[in-house]
Structure formats: C-alpha cells, structure tokens
C-alpha cells in the first residue's frame, strides 16, 4: 500500500537526516533511484519550489514528494513520516534534560553548546548572504571586482537591518515589504 510505503520511506529520511532540511536531499535522490516514484526532473523542480515558498525546506520537500506520488493524502502521510522520528527523539531529550538540568556538568556542556549554536546560525546566515547579496558567478566570469556585489540587495539588507534594530516591529512586515520591493525594483 502506497501510503504505508510513503510513511516508511519518509520516516527513514527523517530518522537519518541530521542537521536540518537540506540534509534530507541525499535521501530523496536515493529514494528516487530506488522507487522511481518521481523523476530526477521532479526533484530539481521540488528543490526550486521548496526554496521559493514559505515553510521549512525539509517539510516542503516531503509535502511536494508525497503529493506528487499520491495526492493530498500522500503529502500528509509523507510529512507525518518525516516529522515522527524528530518528534519522539526531542520529547525523550526534553525529559532527560529536564531531569538533569540542575546537574553541574550538563550546565557546563550547555555553556559550550550555546556559543556553538550562535556560530552555526551565523554561518547559515552568511551562506544566505553569499547567495543573496553577492554574485560570485558574475565575478568569476568577468574578473571585475565590482561585479561581485548586488548593490540593490545590499542596500535593502542594510536598511532592513537598521530599521529592525531601531523599530523592532514584527519580522513578518519586513519580509512582506522586502518581497514587494524585490518585485518593484526587479531585484
């Protein structure tokens, strides 16, 4: 039965992909080759759509694949399979942490983990900035250093940064406004 199979395939994907949505990609390629449920072209289309719609990428990809294979129930079943392992593991970790949170060494480890966490989120932000604010392919093609920068995108990012720090306001408003500005300026 296709729903059970979908659930099982995405359960495995959710269980073995460590570290976020993009980590699920190799598993989806492997699933494509083994089951033939969708084509390689479907996969690249899926990555493009997942990147260009709201929602965590891993969930978008599971929805897309499940829906392509078996319609709306397929999408739901694939997402359920994908989130199941993380759901159970995080509850177990929460209970462990809650029991041992007063332990000195747990506190010491968390002291190091928090610093690492800030660094890794910054790295993820820098990777987005590289794609959004710089144009590395144009620079390597022309060799002209000025081709490296996307001035409009940089101006927009700096404006958002300053306004957000000064005014606060909900991030949603900045995202909506920036999307609109992107369309108007043809960023």
């Amino acid at each position: 039965m296709i729903y059970l199979q979908l659930f099982w395939e995405f359960f495995k994907t959710g269980l073995f992909s460590v570290g976020g949505g993009l980590a699920t990609l190799p598993f989806l390629y492997e699933m494509q080759a083994r089951t033939g449920w969708f084509t390689v072209a479907d996969l690249s289309n899926m990555i493009a759509v997942s990147e260009s719609t709201p929602g965590p990428m891993g969930i978008n990809m599971a929805t897309f694949t499940g829906f392509t294979v078996a319609g709306i129930p397929g999408g739901i079943v694939a997402v359920a399979g994908e989130i199941c392992p993380a759901f159970l593991i995080i509850i177990a970790i929460y209970r462990l942490l809650d029991r041992f949170k007063t332990n000195r060494y747990v506190q010491y480890a968390l002291y190091g983990l928090r610093a690492a966490s800030a660094a890794l989120i910054l790295v993820a932000g820098l990777r987005v900035a590289e794609a959004a604010l710089l144009n590395v392919p144009a620079w390597t093609a022309s060799g002209a250093f000025t081709d490296l920068f996307r001035p409009l995108a940089i101006a927009l990012a700096v404006t958002v940064f300053l306004l957000y720090r000064r005014l606060g306001k909900h991030p949603l408003w900045y995202i909506l406004a920036s999307g609109l500005i992107g369309v108007l300026l043809k960023l």
Binding site: F87, A118, A119, L120, V183
Partner: protein, 187 residues
C-alpha cells in the same frame, strides 16, 4: 486564548514566515516565542538549536516539538509541530496542483531576491540578540569564534563541532571552578 490553539496558531505563524532552512525562523521565534509569549528564553532557543544540529530531522520540528512539550506535554507538542508544518502542507499542495513552474515566474524570482536579502539581515540581527545571552564571557567567545571559523572553512559535519563545543564547555567551566576553589583556599 487557550494554550493548545495558541501553540498551533503561533507555530503556524512561525512556519509561514520561514523562508529557507530552520535558521531562517530564528527572528520570528524570538519575537513570538521569547518576547511576546514568554514560552522560552533566548538561552533555551540556543540550546534547542544546538540539540537540533545533532539530532535527526528538520530543525523547525525539533524546536516546535520541544517548546510545545515544555508548555503542554504531548498535546502541546502535537499542536506546535502540526502548526509549524501546516502552512507548508497547504501552500505546497496548492502550488504544485495549480501552478506549473512556479519558481520560474519572474515576479516570484524578484520577490524572493528581496525576501532573501531581508532574511539574512533579520538573521544577523537575531544572532546579535542571541549572542548577548549565549556568549557571556571571553571563553565562550573563543568557542564561538572557533566553531564559526571551522564550520565556514571545513567540510566536517556540524555535529562534530557541536559535540566538541559541549566538551569544551565542560572543560572550561570545570577548570575555572577548580581555580576559584584554589583561590578561595589561599586567602
């Protein structure tokens, strides 16, 4: 509002404003979960992100399950996790069913270019906020800097750096508490 529906709606809001991977939801999480609802502290967010790097599954699911469980056990975890994936399910199914080549539409590409510039500005701002709590002293800053550089310039999995940072935390704090004790005996 009742807690369970509130968890669902809040995390649906987080899901719908996430463009990219789990790190992209940090600004909205800080705003909704830390500042406006008080369901978690900045430190806890940093903890969950570090845990999410080393555990299976999508980071968005790790975060929502953790906070949902903390507030209202299994029903809370289900509500928050279902909330965070709900927008993806609806949006991806609609787009896949109705619009062909969504990601190649010109205004979609322009809007996304604007949104990406915005998201990296918001993420940088959020990292600064997080760092104030996650990096309390010089030793923690050194851990942060080491993880930043190693993760940027090597291809080793983030899991390794997170585990190493946890170990470094235990060593640093154990040493400094030993030194304090020694200083105390001397006087």
């Amino acid at each position: 509002m009742k807690l369970i529906p509130d968890l669902f709606l809040t995390f649906a809001k987080v899901g719908v404003t996430t463009f990219g991977g789990g790190y992209a939801m940090l600004p909205v999480l800080q705003r909704e979960v830390v500042e406006s609802k008080g369901w978690a502290t900045e430190e806890e967010l940093a903890d969950i992100y570090a845990i999410g790097q080393c555990t299976p599954g999508v980071i968005a699911v790790n975060v929502s399950t953790y906070i949902g469980y903390k507030k209202a056990h299994v029903p809370g975890a289900v509500a928050a996790t279902f909330g965070v994936v709900f927008p993806s399910l609806v949006i991806i199914i609609l787009i896949t069913a109705l619009i062909r080549n969504f990601s190649e539409i010109e205004w979609v590409r322009h809007a996304l270019a604007g949104i990406r510039a915005c998201v990296c500005a918001l993420v940088f701002s959020s990292v600064i906020k997080l760092a104030r709590k996650a990096i309390p002293d010089l030793a923690a800053f050194l851990v942060f800097a080491a993880v930043l550089i190693l993760s940027l310039f090597t291809d080793v999995s983030n899991v390794v750096w997170v585990v190493a940072a946890g170990a470094a935390g235990v060593m640093i704090r154990t040493l400094s508490s030993l030194r304090k004790k020694k200083g105390g005996d001397g006087t």
